[in-house]
């Protein structure tokens, strides 16, 4: 076993060597511009891009013509929201989204609001982080043009009832965008069955290269139109100009193909490892709390709050394991995770949360090591924690008058 261990697979994933192998010819030998229509260099590049488009479309049950390449999921989210708003502004300017969306959706929505271009409803989520489809239905007005709800949450892994929301959107004639960045390649995604009109996802979360992503844009029933946000040579059917990064797209395609082929076995393997990690840690450490949905969540996700210890110090104590925390101290804003707060997790427990993100290259040995280390470090830090000491003395921490600073 090699240290450090990478258990932060929601942030990014290591590239699969098979993906790299597929990409290599497209750097030096086959370097053509896919938009060059009149010579062999261009044709080779275009062929590779179209092959990748098919591989990607197949994974989500789309048509390859419905895939628009972008630089990543953040750009896809921006393009979906801004592109739809701009295109359909005569019809309405109301967007419905949820409070636990990724910042790429929330901040885009806020930016549209600030510019006076949209009004936005931010739906609450239940204690597991799930959007209630009934809330979506109730929020729709005659001005609503877009619903944007994520497939699976990046912190707690909770999977939303996308199919039900898709049905509601369809019945009401409202477009449905889904940020599926964390779900694609990990769980089955079918844009037809789920009734999705636009969908953002990205290569580097599925063991592909960084710097390329896609926006699925439905072509029929209904045909969705978006206003381009980057103008230029009219690439991607005018929706996103810019020379296509052929090697990255080839890698993205290969990565999607591998996910599709291996999803069933890989999901079973990840769930087994994840459940073992969860059971062993929570059995050994009192007052550890699972964040997110107990069963309906991403196979590789585990998010636990350890009462009385602060998340960043936990990470510091486990520096040979790459993890992430909802603690304020790890964020630029000094605010603890807004996702955990939206679930109703208390601020102090939000500060105490650790996200484990298991992926394709994690092994049983790594999980054993992590389990041991987490128990050891939490125990050590609790010994050091005045809150733990008070709790053990029977002091009700909620009754203490703290001086907030």
């Amino acid at each position: 076993m090699k240290l450090p261990i990478f258990l932060d697979n929601h942030s990014t994933t290591p590239m699969d060597p098979r993906v790299l192998e597929a990409m290599l010819p497209y750097f030096v030998e086959k370097f053509g511009n896919a938009a060059s229509r009149n010579h062999a260099f261009g044709w080779a590049a275009e062929e590779a891009v179209e092959q990748a488009r098919k591989q990607i479309a197949k994974l989500i049950n789309a048509d390859s013509k419905e895939i628009v390449f972008t630089s990543g999921a953040t750009e896809s989210d921006n393009l979906a929201l801004k592109g739809v708003l701009e295109m359909y502004k005569e019809k309405g300017t109301h967007i419905i989204t949820s409070s636990t969306e990724h910042r790429a959706v929330l901040d885009t929505a806020k930016s549209l609001e600030a510019k006076g271009m949209a009004t936005v409803t931010y739906l609450p989520v239940d204690k597991y982080g799930m959007v209630n489809p009934q809330d979506v239905q109730n929020a729709i007005t005659d001005k609503t043009i877009l619903i944007s709800i994520m497939l699976a949450n990046n912190e707690i892994g909770t999977i939303n009832p996308i199919q039900e929301i898709g049905k509601i959107a369809k019945a009401k004639g409202v477009l449905f965008h889904c940020d599926a960045t964390q779900g694609v390649g990990k769980i089955p995604v079918d844009v037809q069955a789920m009734g999705i009109d636009l969908m953002s996802f990205t290569s580097h979360k599925v063991y592909g290269p960084k710097g390329v992503g896609a926006l699925y844009v439905r072509k029929r029933n209904p045909r969705v139109r978006i206003a381009a946000q980057i103008d230029g040579g009219g690439h991607e059917r005018g929706m996103r100009s810019g020379t296509l990064p052929v090697p990255l797209i080839v890698g993205f395609g290969k990565a999607c193909e591998l996910c599709e082929q291996e999803m069933v076995t890989e999901t079973a393997r990840l769930i087994k490892m994840r459940d073992r990690l969860q059971t062993d840690i929570m059995a050994a450490l009192e007052e550890s709390y699972l964040n997110g949905h107990p069963t309906n969540r991403l196979p590789g996700n585990l998010n636990i709050s350890f009462a009385y210890v602060e998340g960043e110090s936990l990470l510091m104590g486990m520096k040979d394991i790459a993890l992430s925390s909802g603690s304020a101290c790890t964020s630029a804003t000094l605010e603890p995770s807004y996702v955990l707060r939206a679930l109703g997790v208390g601020t102090e427990l939000a500060h105490s949360s650790i996200r484990f993100g298991l992926g394709r290259f994690n092994t049983d040995d790594e999980i054993d090591y992590t389990t041991k280390k987490v128990i050891e470090v939490v125990t050590k830090l609790r010994e050091m924690s005045p809150l733990y000491e008070m709790a053990k003395e029977g002091v009700d921490l909620k009754s203490v008058q703290w001086a907030a600073h």
């Binding site: 603690s327 924690s385 600073h405």
Partner: protein, 132 residues
């Protein structure tokens, strides 16, 4: 964010971690911060003849908060009450090379020192405790 070697050292080998009985007459206790802010420090001093003979801490917080309080206990030992009053958060920032986002940890440590001294002084009502 990378931590300075000194922060790492205090985190891995905390000095004077633990507790005194807070009701003892020669002990001053300062507890500052709040759980919802992500850091709580408890700093305790044991005083004889106006001199801090021992100090202990317990901290809920990030690595820099733990290091700041650990360092504070080191500095407090052997100082008189008057000398201890002069410890400034900026001294802690400098010693631990804390980055700007972690300055509040040093402020909290200074507050904890002040609170422990005030608690002790309240107990003794300004009279130094003699050796018992």
């Amino acid at each position: 964010m990378a931590y300075s070697d000194k922060v790492v050292d205090h985190f891995n080998n905390p000095r004077n971690m633990g507790s005194f009985k807070k009701d003892d007459a020669d002990v001053g206790t300062g507890m500052v911060g709040a759980p919802e802010c992500g850091d709580v420090m408890k700093l305790q001093i044991k005083v004889q003849n106006d001199t801090i003979v021992d100090a202990k801490f317990k901290t809920f917080g990030c690595g820099s908060a733990i290091a700041s309080s650990s360092l504070a206990t080191e500095w407090l030992k052997g100082k008189t009450i008057e000398e201890a009053q002069k410890i400034k958060n900026t001294d802690i920032v400098q010693e631990l090379n804390l980055p700007p986002v972690k300055i509040h940890c040093s402020v909290l440590a200074e507050d904890a020192i002040k609170a422990a001294l005030a608690d002790y002084q309240k107990k003794t009502d300004g009279q130094p405790t003699g050796t018992k």
